[in-house]
């Protein structure tokens, strides 16, 4: 059993499912001989041939629409967008068709497709290569939105996403694509698509996050532990549908919650979590909910981007603030 990175886990899940289900195909720009600009599809062309690994013309609308068409005809396409910032032209086909075909036809047709994209900032890339636009997809009925934050979860959640009979938006936190390795058995075991993962138990404050920010959040929990504060860390992993129960249970215990995400704050997905707490956890909360997020500005070009992304320090400060209240 090999130690692999998050991106290798993506590749491994793709290969596993392609091996076990002939209807799974991979398509996108440069996914073939080049193995994807991040190398997520590396080796697949060699293994499965050009009829399973398809280099598409350069048009995201085309890729999305072809994906819907293929899926409606019984294939299981996994479409790649090279960066999350290039998914906007896919949105019409995703929102108007992928997400609706089942409902529109009362179940006669459905779209078992996955739309994958590297996601998030912090890799010193050019403009549009660092977006965190997950919130946009979470308001669209009929979609699932998934954002793994470890090699193991990337593997299990991607398998689940491909197997799911409905369209899944699968964002991969590119900043931690190669951050660390862990043992991931290639056993085809999927993880549930409606579950948050408690990464660290704690009793004083709940830190809720997803994607690359899991890194900073865990570090913040360490830092807080140093000053005697016990933080529980939850990786939301699947934003839609949201497993609010797990978050609520934690907040029932800790009475405090800090939500961390790198997307702009206003109408970011953190708002939904804070809203559910406001609706359902008012009597559990000992201090106001805090959000530590990207700002309501565009993520700056790379010289300043690390000042935009939530830092360990900002998370720690927010957690401390919730504890200052009593």
């Amino acid at each position: 059993m090999a130690q692999i990175t998050l991106i290798e886990a993506v590749t491994m899940a793709l290969a596993y499912e392609m091996d076990h289900d002939a209807s799974v195909i991979v398509l996108g720009e440069d996914v073939g001989i080049n193995g994807g600009v991040f190398r997520a599809t590396v080796g697949l062309l060699e293994k499965f041939g050009p009829e399973r690994v398809i280099d598409m013309p350069l048009d995201e609308t085309t890729i999305a629409g072809v994906t819907v068409g293929m899926a409606a005809q019984g294939m299981k396409p996994v479409a790649e967008s090279q960066f999350e910032g290039f998914m906007y032209p896919m949105l019409d086909q995703i929102a108007s068709h992928a997400a609706r075909l089942r409902n529109r036809t009362r179940g006669r047709m459905h779209v078992p497709a996955v739309f994958r994209a590297p996601w998030g900032g912090g890799i010193r890339a050019p403009e549009h290569h660092s977006e965190a636009n997950e919130a946009i997809f979470t308001n669209i009925p009929g979609l699932r939105v998934v954002l793994p934050s470890s090699p193991g979860r990337a593997y299990g959640l991607l398998l689940a996403a491909i197997r799911d009979p409905d369209p899944v938006i699968f964002f991969e936190p590119k900043r931690i694509y190669r951050q660390y390795k862990e043992e991931v058995p290639d056993d085809g075991e999927a993880l549930p698509l409606d579950m948050c993962f408690v990464l660290r138990d704690g009793s004083d404050v709940t830190l809720v996050t997803w994607g690359a920010q899991v890194k900073e959040t865990l570090e913040a929990a360490d830092a807080l532990a140093d000053s005697g504060i016990s933080a529980e860390v939850i990786d939301v992993a699947t934003l839609k549908p949201l497993d609010f129960d797990t978050i609520h249970e934690s907040v029932r215990k800790t009475g405090r919650c800090v939500i961390v995400h790198e997307a702009p704050r206003t109408a970011g997905f953190g708002a939904e979590i804070a809203a559910r707490l406001a609706e359902h956890a008012m009597y559990d909360l000992l201090a106001p909910v805090q959000r530590v997020t990207g700002y309501d500005t565009h993520i700056p070009l790379f010289r300043l981007e690390m000042k935009y992304l939530p830092s360990v320090q900002r998370i720690v400060a927010a957690a401390q603030q919730t504890l200052a209240v009593s």
Binding site: T61, G65, V68, G69, Q73, N103, R104, T105, R106, F244
Partner: protein, 359 residues
């Protein structure tokens, strides 16, 4: 001067507006008069359906409805050429093609009557439902065609798109990928001269819409879309090429939208009566009827008898439509996903509770 490439766009017509053949080489299928009578009868039924649907809307029994008046030759030409296993990706007024493929008139009515079950129709389960966002269906056809190619199935995906729709990104994407990958796809541009109030020449500077296919390297052709024989012949040819792996085609069928855009539109605001009157001279039913009559295969009496039959069938369909109960509120939830996620379970319960509280 070096020439890198040169192209021609052919225009195909067999019958002129007076029902006379304009060329001697009538295709095989057109020599089978029984078959041609059948097709004519389907066109006539379509017109009865259309008239009745508009009447239903006018009397408040149907929502907005998109008429297909004047497009009968295009839609019947397409439908009669396709195989059941082929995939059809329509926009929103191709009932003629769909009737041939098994969709029931009551289902069309249900759809425009605000009920999703209209799209769970009796046509082939692999056919796409009506598509409202202009042009998006083109890519569904391309995707279907790619699936067929990958699975090595001798099937073809056919889409229709309006003259207005050819301006849309999705149309271009579909023909482009079909050309790049030699997909078994046929694009039919139903050029009815208008996109709501926007005339054909405001959409593009291209002399023909067919030539848009050149941008994708597809076989591209213009046909008289009011001439059933021309449409059918062009479709036969394009489907055969596609089915045998020779790639996709673009067919521009020139016709005219004799109706308002939909029942929500009033075309008198923006177009001349004179133009519409002139277009009636070219309409598709009369010329085929005249041709059949000249061939001794049809007459006034058969026409009237068939109209009566059409009326009876439509009455049945309308009754079936009007008798269809509204879906329960649950239906709003139960097709969003294969399985209801936990949030939706709660919302569904709350919605049903709110509903029963309001009774």
């Amino acid at each position: 001067m070096t020439i890198a490439a040169s192209f021609e766009i052919e225009y195909l017509q067999y019958l002129d507006t007076t029902g006379k053949a304009t060329r001697k080489d009538l295709p095989e299928f057109a020599r089978d008069l029984d078959h041609m009578i059948d097709l004519y009868k389907t066109m006539l039924f379509l017109r009865v359906f259309d008239t009745k649907s508009i009447a239903l809307q006018r009397t408040g029994k149907l929502g907005t409805y998109a008429s297909c008046l004047g497009h009968e030759a295009v839609y019947i030409g397409i439908g009669s050429a396709m195989q059941e296993e082929d995939v059809f990706a329509p926009s929103y007024r191709e009932y003629g093609t769909q009737f041939i493929r098994g969709v029931k008139p009551r289902e069309v009515l249900l759809y425009w009557g605000g009920d999703e079950r209209g799209s769970d129709f009796s046509g082939p389960a692999h056919d796409f439902p009506w598509t409202v966002p202009i042009g998006t269906q083109c890519l569904h056809a391309a995707g279907s065609a790619l699936a067929f190619k990958l699975r090595k199935e001798p099937r073809v995906a056919v889409f229709c798109i309006g003259d207005g729709g050819t301006s849309k990104a999705d149309f271009y994407g579909a023909i482009n990928v079909a050309g790049a990958m030699q997909l078994p796809m046929v694009a039919v541009i139903v050029n009815n001269q208008w996109a709501i109030s926007t005339p054909r020449q405001a959409q593009t500077g291209a002399k023909t819409l067919a030539q848009k296919g050149l941008a994708a390297g597809l076989e591209s052709l213009q046909v008289d879309g009011n001439d059933l024989i021309a449409v059918r012949a062009a479709m036969d040819h394009a489907l055969k090429r596609a089915r045998h792996g020779h790639g996709g085609s673009v067919i521009e069928a020139i016709t005219y939208r004799l109706s308002d855009h939909t029942t929500a539109d009033d075309a008198r605001r923006y177009r001349d009566d004179a133009e519409v009157k002139a277009a009636w001279e070219r309409e598709p039913l009369l010329r085929l009827r005249t041709w059949l009559e000249l061939a001794g295969a049809w007459d006034e009496q058969r026409e009237e008898a068939w109209k009566v039959q059409c009326g009876q069938r439509m009455d049945e369909e309308v009754n079936a439509y009007l008798g269809t109960r509204t879906q329960p509120l649950e239906a709003t939830f139960d097709y969003t996903y294969a399985e209801l996620p936990i949030d939706l379970v709660e919302q569904r319960t709350a919605a049903l509770a709110a509903e029963s509280a309001s009774h």
